[in-house]
Subunit: 136 residues, 3 copies
């Protein structure tokens, strides 16, 4: 058993675990506040968890490809170090959003910063590869 990006895989699994945790939390508050599927409408307590999960869906779609592309360009360790802030930021985000919508900023910012650095790093890696390959 030798996979190429074990630390990055750990971070990706952690990100997906946070995502599943939020999905399960939505299921739980559906029961608690009597929001029966296929409705998405309910009291603010429900809506905040629902939106925390949806926003995490929106952001994981950016994070995971950026993480994978960054790891291919810059290696497993640095990808994992930068990427590790994403699940941390998302746990902060979910817990804060559940309390009050206006508290969700820091967790969002931390995870978005992580994803943005990964995306810009992937871009830099692609450009550097193309420059090196270009006939001089």
């Amino acid at each position: 058993m030798q996979i190429q990006f074990p630390l990055t895989t750990l971070v990706a699994v952690a990100a997906l675990a946070v995502y599943v945790w939020l999905a399960m939390w939505v299921g739980k508050v559906r029961g608690k506040y009597g929001v029966v599927a296929p409705s998405e409408d309910g009291p603010p307590e429900f809506r905040r968890i629902f939106r925390a999960h949806m926003n995490t869906l929106e952001q994981i779609v950016l994070f995971l490809p950026a993480l994978a592309m960054f790891a291919m360009a810059w290696g497993d360790q640095i990808a994992a170090v930068i990427g590790a802030f994403w699940p941390v930021g998302r746990v902060m985000y979910g817990l804060a959003y559940a309390k009050a919508a206006e508290k969700r900023g820091p967790g969002f910012g931390l995870s978005f910063l992580s994803a943005s650095i990964l995306l810009l790093g992937a871009l830099a890696g692609a450009i550097m590869t193309l420059v090196e390959k270009a006939p001089s």
Copy 2:
């Protein structure tokens, strides 16, 4: 033409095809029940198809990365065998949800079980790689 994970690719294509099928179904029931974009609101018959698609979006974001990471750790064949239950479960889910929300459990469970095994397998693969690499 030699790709590394042909069977896993077939399963991923099948999963995406089920996902596109549900998206097209939403378009169709938009017409049928007169739910004009950008609205997402309509009769329960529309809402159930809409939510079946949305939930499949939520779940495919978990499934595809887990499938890819599992295949890299454990190989093409076993990834494809476990992953193949996902699109099957999602077809069951979509057809059942269209009839009644409370019938959607088994299809959800089957696809979630498939994705969970893949995710745990990816985690195990990462840990085993790190343990083997560690200096003894």
Copy 3:
């Protein structure tokens, strides 16, 4: 620095940049029309940007895996050429949807065509690999 798919990576980064642009636009119109989270409801001007972003989320979940699988089967250059139409179509889609819902067709069609060709190409690559591997 030598990554395997630099042109495809550029296209993927462009697609994710368009996606982030739409997410930021949603944030901006939340402020403009006073749609306070966790609400998703507001005037049609808000709803159209919101839906443009959501639909792009739905579609990027199809596009990125199809792009990656196609690149692995058919190489970096052809994947990037076909994939480049996706972010172009999505910019068209977002700008048109913001003006009027019924103008969103062409941008949707262009990006969906791009993703569909990539998905079918990935399918063809998987089948050709399996046929070549089969004992004769």
